[in-house]
């Protein structure tokens, strides 16, 4: 009865053994549609409305007393000149440094781990993979608690630093930026006027260039620790798909291990590297749990992320329009990176050269 496969659907939909299928199909997908619609589609539309309204958190946002205020909430956080704009600017500064440091570090480390544990002859391969992957399955709350302890004044990290004579900072209490700290190390404590006098989003360029605060740096290390295992698995999968023949040929030609990796393996891993980088960027922009659990944005707002700021504006300060506006700006940024990723990876099968061309385009736009 393979006829069901070959017969055109239209003719057979309501006859024979396909009878009632349409109804069943709809019944089967109904729960998914209802729940996704109710808790995803409708909420997004409602929040979109709130981001354009002056709703203050009381009563229904759909009631008649709530007014449409156009782009006012968006303007408040981007051009308002007040505290809201400055907070949004600081959160963008923080997350930009976070993503800028986390993504390369986690990509390089996870690739390095994957290459190490991918050797077929390695003894204890399973053990090492497990050790590197385990932090990825634990909850961000539990890891944050552990991190608060490890990086506390009397914690493990400072105890290790003490071995080599370094008196470590009280990590999660330290708001100074690491770039500023490095500059202070060579005697530069104030920036040139061109930087200190120019503001972008209420934050001076000098502050933009401060680097992540010491507190945020501890979160950066935590992100690298917890995500490198997941991405290692992606790289292991990719490495197993890389043909060995090219490597063999390279070896015959006298290429050493490093040359073979750099010129033969790495180019073949390009799609996976791109996936890891974009997933890292998308994930990086969304940091919330760690901040909520750990520092609540402090010290001196240097760990405020856009996601946390959006939550804090709405739920703590009752600035619902502002919070929703920040959420949608964040949404746009993340969608932008998602689209770039989908777009580039869709072209993967065509040819390496074309893929490379798109990659350059993606990075530029």
């Amino acid at each position: 009865m393979t006829a069901t496969v070959t017969t055109p659907r239209v003719g057979s939909r309501n006859t024979g053994i396909r009878r009632g299928e349409a109804a069943a199909g709809w019944v089967f997908v109904l729960p998914v549609i209802l729940i996704l619609g109710l808790f995803l589609l409708i909420p997004v539309l409602m929040a979109l409305w709130v981001s354009f309204s002056d709703w203050a958190g009381r009563g229904s946002p759909l009631s008649g007393s709530v007014n449409f205020v156009g782009l006012e909430n968006y303007a408040a956080v981007t051009t308002g000149g007040g505290l809201a704009e400055r907070d949004f600017g600081i959160s963008l500064r923080n997350i930009a440094w976070y993503v800028l440091l986390v993504v390369p570090l986690q990509t390089a480390l996870s690739l390095f781990l994957a290459v190490l544990v991918n050797r077929a002859v390695l003894r204890g391969r399973g053990f090492f993979r497990t050790a590197f992957y385990f932090p990825s399955v634990t909850s961000s709350v539990a890891i944050t608690i552990l991190w608060l302890f490890l990086f506390s004044q009397t914690g493990v990290v400072n105890a290790v630093l003490a071995w080599i004579g370094i008196s470590g900072p009280n990590w999660f209490q330290e708001p100074s930026g690491i770039v500023h700290n490095a500059l202070a190390g060579i005697g530069i404590t104030t920036g040139p006027e061109a930087l200190t006098q120019t503001d972008v989003l209420g934050v001076s360029l000098w502050e933009w260039l401060a680097g992540p605060s010491v507190a945020l740096s501890a979160f950066i290390l935590m992100a690298v620790f917890t995500t490198s295992g997941t991405f290692m698995l992606l790289f292991i999968a990719a490495l197993q798909n890389v043909g060995g023949e090219l490597g063999e040929a390279g070896m015959m030609d006298g290429a050493n291990g490093w040359q073979r990796f750099w010129h033969i393996t790495l180019p073949q891993l390009r799609p996976t590297i791109f996936t890891v980088v974009t997933l890292g960027v998308i994930g990086g922009w969304q940091v919330f749990d760690q901040i909520y659990t750990g520092t609540e944005g402090g010290p001196a707002k240097t760990t405020v992320t856009p996601a946390y700021l959006s939550y804090e504006a709405a739920f703590t300060r009752q600035e619902w329009g502002e919070g929703s506006a920040i959420a949608f700006l964040l949404f746009l940024i993340i969608i932008f990176f998602t689209i770039i990723q989908r777009w580039v990876l869709r072209e993967r099968g065509v040819s390496k050269r074309r893929a490379a061309r798109y990659e350059v385009k993606g990075g530029r736009s």
Partner: protein, 305 residues
């Protein structure tokens, strides 16, 4: 590529279908290869220590006194072993309640997800009906919506439909997961159609075919869904923050996060916090070690798909 020639069996395991590499010229001296191996293992061991040590310290610290936790953070063996942290957690805090809440939510969410997600996956893979393509497109689009953007929206809807601060608010939105639908659809598409035909000819309805014929074959995919949804809902934090406010509905993630900011304790009290985080990790860790192979392969499969 490995430095030495791997045994035949290992090659087959790593990459079935490709012939073993030809013997290569042994230009490198044996001693150099041995020292290279020693270096590799030393590196791996150091890295493994860096990844494992924090968890060992966590276990050790949960049995320390407050003062020892501060004065001797590195030691893996407490000078005086004390169960005070665990006694406080279980005897004088809401920790047991949080644990029960997390368990209820996780179990219900996992069961619900397995059912709804496989139903939808089956329909999208096998049943022909108008609008199927559109629904699938919707599911894929939904996967791109980042969870943190939904915090305010979810609160608004839960509030509007009057279930804010209830178990329903915690559970319903998590019952369905677009990625799960995607995984199940892919799996059902890989099952030959002929399997269902006999049942259909015998007059079984769509649900009957799904429930008695196809679902039992889907065990590997179902286990994947179970792992993902257990892990996801047990570790979920942000959704519970915006869905509830009552202390009676606090989950482990929310409760332990409140411990971190010192709401229930005076001073640092690291042993209590670390013990709480540790207990919270145990169920996921157990799941991880039981299904280790599958969890590792899940991620690999996700990439290839």
């Amino acid at each position: 590529m490995s430095e030495t020639l791997p045994p035949q069996a290992k090659v087959a395991q790593v990459d079935p279908g490709r012939p073993a590499p030809a013997p290569r010229p042994r230009r490198n001296g044996l001693s150099r290869r041995v020292s290279g191996q020693i270096f590799l293992y030393a590196l791996l061991v150091i890295l493994a220590i860096i990844y494992i040590f924090p968890f060992l310290v966590q276990v050790a610290t949960s049995f320390k006194t407050d003062s020892e936790a501060a004065s001797n953070a590195l030691s893996l063996f407490p000078q005086t072993v004390t169960f005070a942290a665990y006694e406080t957690l279980f005897g004088r805090s809401d920790f047991p309640l949080w644990f029960v809440n997390s368990t209820i939510v996780t179990v219900v969410v996992t069961l619900g997800r397995v059912f709804f997600v496989s139903l939808a996956g089956y329909a999208l893979a096998r049943l022909h009906f108008r609008g199927r393509g559109a629904i699938f497109a919707l599911v894929v689009a939904v996967m791109a919506v980042p969870a943190v953007v939904l915090l305010i929206p979810k609160f608004l809807v839960l509030n509007q439909i009057g279930i804010y601060d209830t178990y329903a608010a915690m559970i319903l939105p998590l019952l369905v997961d677009a990625a799960g639908v995607f995984i199940m659809k892919n799996f059902f598409e890989s099952i030959p159609v002929s399997v269902e035909e006999q049942a259909r000819i015998d007059g079984a309805g769509a649900f009957r075919v799904f429930w008695s014929v196809v679902l039992p074959m889907a065990r590997p995919a179902l286990i994947t869904i179970v792992i993902l949804s257990f892990q996801g809902s047990w570790n979920e934090l942000s959704h519970f923050i915006v869905a509830t406010q009552s202390p009676e509905l606090t989950t482990l993630t929310k409760g332990v996060a409140s411990l971190a900011s010192g709401q229930l304790s005076q001073g640092t009290q690291y042993p209590i916090k670390l013990a709480a985080a540790l207990i919270m990790t145990i169920p996921v860790a157990v799941l991880f070690f039981i299904f280790q192979k599958r969890i590792m392969n899940t991620s690999e499969g996700a990439v290839k798909g």
